[in-house]
Each structure stands twice: as structure tokens, then as C-alpha cells.
Amino acid sequence: MELTKDISGCGIAGFINRDGSLVSGIDIADSITLMKDRGNGLGAGFAAYGIYPDFKEFYALHIMYDDEHARKITEEYLDRKLHIEQHGGMPTRPIKKKRPIFFVYFVEPREQSTKAESEEFRKEEEDEFIVKLVMHINEKIDGAYVVSSGKNMGVFKGVGFPDEIANFFRIDEYKACCWTAHNRFPTNTPGWWGGAHPFSLLYWTVVHNGEISSYGANKRYLEMYGYKCTQKTDTEVVAYLLDLISRKHGLSFDMVGKIFSPPLWEEIEKMGKKEKELYTALRMTYGGALLNGPFSIIVGYRGGMFGLNDRIKLRPLVAAKKGNTVFMASEESAIKYIAKDLDEIWMPKAGEPVVVNLTEEGYKKIYGTLV
């Protein structure tokens, strides 16, 4: 009998060119594939920012369908709700397994035909409009899942090893200023195409190594605000919590870090008055958003990327910098495999987000507007 060992533990990687310069997906695929043994072939995926420069004004919906019927129902719904500038099947290469079908739609919200509909789907509140649309499709249409829904970005994910999924989605042919990647080792949730990372909503994407033990509490908290968890994987809550806390409530990523990975009560006890007040208020207001359990995550968003660990750093994360590019990964070797002569390498501290934003010019280059 051959002795084998499961090296269990997902792998994550990501990098961002702060000046907005675009590079192909070859490097990120190499980086995550170096950590192939962190996954077991049951999930891998990539998020890319800046890939659709010709449609940067439009929300790019990446939708996964189980069958043609689901596509028909979904497209009828999309036609009723949105202006579709262009759409088509996502370019793929053959893969030796049963797989869903993938389509991309470049859309924008439009006036609704009835008053009741216009009240629920308000054209002026574009992001909100898209969130509602995504929640509706994921919850109500059997066999249809919106994989990503931001502008000038997209998520490519599925069941397989990272090199397989990269090849399937032809990510070497896309060019992005920010790439993140995931290699999955599912522990207590199913390995299915929708359960692969990144998880995404609007411009948010999350890749995650670890386990959100507070999933149930987070899910119920999110339901109060209209977010429906439908993807059967804990990481999904992180994407929606970011949307709620950062986009809707306007809190900074530093605050998000303090909410997701708060210090223990014993530590808060030892703080000065002002800090104690802040942390106590955050724990009371956002208790339902606390992420319990071990995690390291890399989050992509409109204009940047950040990495974060759980409050006692139970999962690995290394960061490095070279010129205008910042890298993060589960293992240092995954960074050095794609970048030589780094200026700086460091191990981020528990609960302290490493936030990297595009420069002003970089932002303008990708999104065509100022921040």
C-alpha cells in the first residue's frame, strides 16, 4: 500500500499592480499551482480586476447554469429587469468532467415597467439594484448562480485543481491589474462548482483559507439585511458582510478588521479608555459580523486588495512588495516563484488588515473615473 498524506488546508494567493498595469493570468495560476497540495481537486478559482476595459461602465454578470432551462428562465428575468449591452458564452477549453455552462452579460439597471417594480428596483441606486437581482437569481431560479457581478472584473471558478480551472477558463488570455486565487480543500461543505472560491458580490471577491465557525450566526445576521446565503459554503458570508459593513455602512477596512477579528474581551479589558469604548461599541453593534474560527482571507474590491487573518492567526499569510506590486499568499514560496528580488517580505499580524489601494492614476486607468 502506498502511504499518502493529506496536507489539508486551502491555499490562497493574490497580487495587485498599484499603477493599474495589466498582466495576464499566467503568473497567478503558477503561484497558486505551486501550492497544489494545499487543495484536493475539489475547487479552485480566480478573481480578476480590469479584464473588461471595453465594458467598464457595465456590470459584468458571470452566471453559471446547470442546464439550458435555467438559462432560459434567467435570461427572461434579465431581459425584464436590465438593459443588456452585450452577452455571450464564456470562452472555455475542454475539461474532462461534467461541468455547468457559463455566460457573461454586460448590463446596466433600467427603468422598470410597473410602479411596484420600480419601487423595489430603483434605477438610481445601481449597486442596490444589482444586489437584489443577484439575490433573486441565486435564491429563486433553480440551477442558476451569479458567480460575479461587478464592473470591469470577474470571477472564474469550479471543481478541479487550480491549473485545470485556469486552463478551462483560459485565464492566461485575460489581463488584470489585480488577481486573486484559491485552491480548495473542502472540509465540511460540499465541493461543487458554486462552492469554489472566490465568493463575490458586486466588486467584492473573497478567497479564504480556514473555517468560519460563526457561519450560522453570520448568516442569520445577514438575512436581516436581505442577503441570502445560497452557496452552501461558509466563505459566502464574508463577501456579503463586506458589502454591508463597508459599502452600505461606509466603515473603513481598518474597522472591518476590528469587527471581523476583534481582540478578546480580556484584551479589551486592558486597553485605555478610548480604545476600550471603540472596541466595546463595535462588539455590541457588529457582534453578528464577528468571524469566529481560523481564517486567512484575501479580499479584492473596486480599487484595491486587502489581506486579513483571524484574531489569533490560526492560518498562514505572507505579504511582499516589489516596486508597485504587492503580493500575498499562504506560503512565501508561492510569491517567490513568480517574483524575484522582492523589496520587502513580511508576516502580517493577526487581525490587522494589509490594505493595498491602486494609485490615483491606476484607478483612473481601470475605472475611467477618479476615486
Binding site: D37, K313, P316, E332, S333, K336, Y337, I345, M347, A350
Partner: protein, 248 residues
């Protein structure tokens, strides 16, 4: 000298190559282009073998190792020296989390920083006394549940934004000695350990190991020894003795 090129070689194949080279009586192995291969040196036991590694070795470098010497000319990753029983590992760079986890013999020298949970569950037995010397700073939970052995932290990379060690230092420690150069904030210690001034006997141990460190990494011994050390010791040999059952 026996050279091995590890470029794009899968970890299992690399480790097989290393083992068969040692079986064929090679003692001095130089491994080039290492990048993330796990388990290098795991379980090797010939004390005359030296592995020189260029590139970043993967997790669990030298795990369960019992005799050989490993020299790393780059950073190392997580789990270095996991349950190591004998031999020596030298890292010309930094190392990741859980360094020397459950280490029970031999020595580890790291030039720069180490991550979280260094030397947790380290233990000693009779004449087996594991020794770890770290030149830079360490993350939180250093020496957690430590039961034996010697850990010396020099803090040469510390500055006003970078503390020599994180919190929960020596939580649940019940044996062994931790020596830290410079001052240690009592708040880092939580409840189960305390700092005292090292004795003359202790300083002999510190001096001997710092000399060794300076020989390896070419540091200025006198400059390092100018600053005083503190010793972290457990308050009790059984910190959790009464956790579940109220004691006398």
C-alpha cells in the same frame, strides 16, 4: 559534494532523491532552486549529513529529524523543526509560524524573525535539551505550553513599531527557560508566567548560545550582550491543575 537541482521537482520526488543520495553514502548535499517543497530532511538520522538549501524550503522542514544539519540560505516557512529530535537547522533569513513545535532535541538558529507560536510544546528529557536562538522578533503565543528546553530571543530587528514578541507569551508554560534580550511588557505575559532576572548560571547559557549565533551570522557579540536579558519562567509546574477540578 552532491548537487541536486530542485527546480519544478515535486516534493515527494525531491525527498526520494535526497534519501537515495544519502543511502549511496553522500554526506554533503547541496540542493539548488528549492521553492516550497514540503518535508525536506524529515526523519533523517545520519549525524554526518549536511543539507545546504538554496531557495525557500516548504513547510515542515526537518520534521522528526534526528541528527543531520540543515542550512537554509533564504527564508523558511511554517513548521520548521516540527518534533525534531536531534541535529541542527540554521536559517539565514526568517522563518514562519509554529517554529520548533514539540521539539525535543538539537538546535535551531534563525537569523531574523519568526512567526506566531514559536516553540510551543517544546520539551526536554534527561540529557535532551532542545535549544532555539532567534535573532529577530517573534509573533504571539511564543513558548505556549512550553515544557522544557531553552529559547533565546534577541530582538535585533525590533523598533518602535515592532515589539520583540506578541501577546500570550508563555501562556500555559510549565517548564524550560525563555530568555529575551531587553525589556518585556508584563501585559504580554497573561497569567501563567512571569519575568525574573537571569542568574549567573543562566547568563552562561545565554553567552554560550549568543556566541554561537554570532559565529554563524557574523554579528557583533559585545554589542548584543550590552543589553540585559530577562528570563521568563512559569509560575507553576501545573498551570491547569485546577482548571476542572478544584484543588486543595
Amino acid at each position: 559534494m552532491y548537487e541536486i537541482d530542485a527546480k519544478n521537482v515535486y516534493y515527494r520526488a525531491l525527498n526520494e532523491t535526497i534519501r537515495s543520495a544519502i543511502k549511496n553514502h553522500n554526506k554533503d548535499l547541496v540542493i539548488e532552486n528549492v521553492c516550497g517543497q514540503y518535508y525536506i530532511g524529515t526523519g533523517l538520522s545520519d549525524p554526518d549529513v549536511t543539507l545546504t538549501i538554496h531557495g525557500v524550503p516548504g513547510n515542515d522542514l526537518g520534521a522528526f529529524m534526528n541528527g543531520p544539519k540543515i542550512i537554509v540560505h533564504d527564508d523558511a516557512q511554517d513548521g520548521l523543526g516540527n518534533t525534531m529530535n536531534g541535529g541542527r537547522i540554521v536559517v539565514y533569513g526568517s522563518a514562519g509560524d509554529v517554529l520548533a513545535y514539540s521539539m525535543r532535541g538539537g538546535s535551531i538558529f534563525v537569523e531574523k524573525d519568526v512567526g506566531y507560536r514559536a516553540c510551543i510544546h517544546m520539551k526536554a528529557y534527561k540529557d535532551m535539551n532542545p535549544t532555539v536562538v532567534v535573532g529577530g522578533c517573534a509573533g504571539a503565543f511564543m513558548g505556549e505550553y512550553m515544557a522544557g528546553g531553552t529559547l533565546i530571543l534577541l530582538g535585533l530587528t525590533k523598533d518602535k513599531n515592532k515589539a520583540v514578541t506578541g501577546n500570550y507569551l508563555a501562556t500555559g508554560m510549565h517548564g524550560g527557560s525563555i530568555f529575551i534580550r531587553g525589556e518585556v511588557d508584563d501585559n504580554l505575559l497573561w497569567n501563567q508566567a512571569m519575568t525574573i532576572k537571569p542568574t549567573d548560571e543562566d547568563y552562561k547559557v545565554i553567552q554560550e548560545n549568543v556566541k554561537e549565533f554570532c559565529n554563524i551570522f557574523k554579528n557583533d557579540y559585545n554589542k548584543i550582550m550590552k543589553e540585559e536579558f530577562v528570563k521568563v519562567v512559569p509560575k507553576s509546574t501545573r498551570p491547569y491543575g485546577h482548571l476542572y477540578i478544584p484543588g486543595p
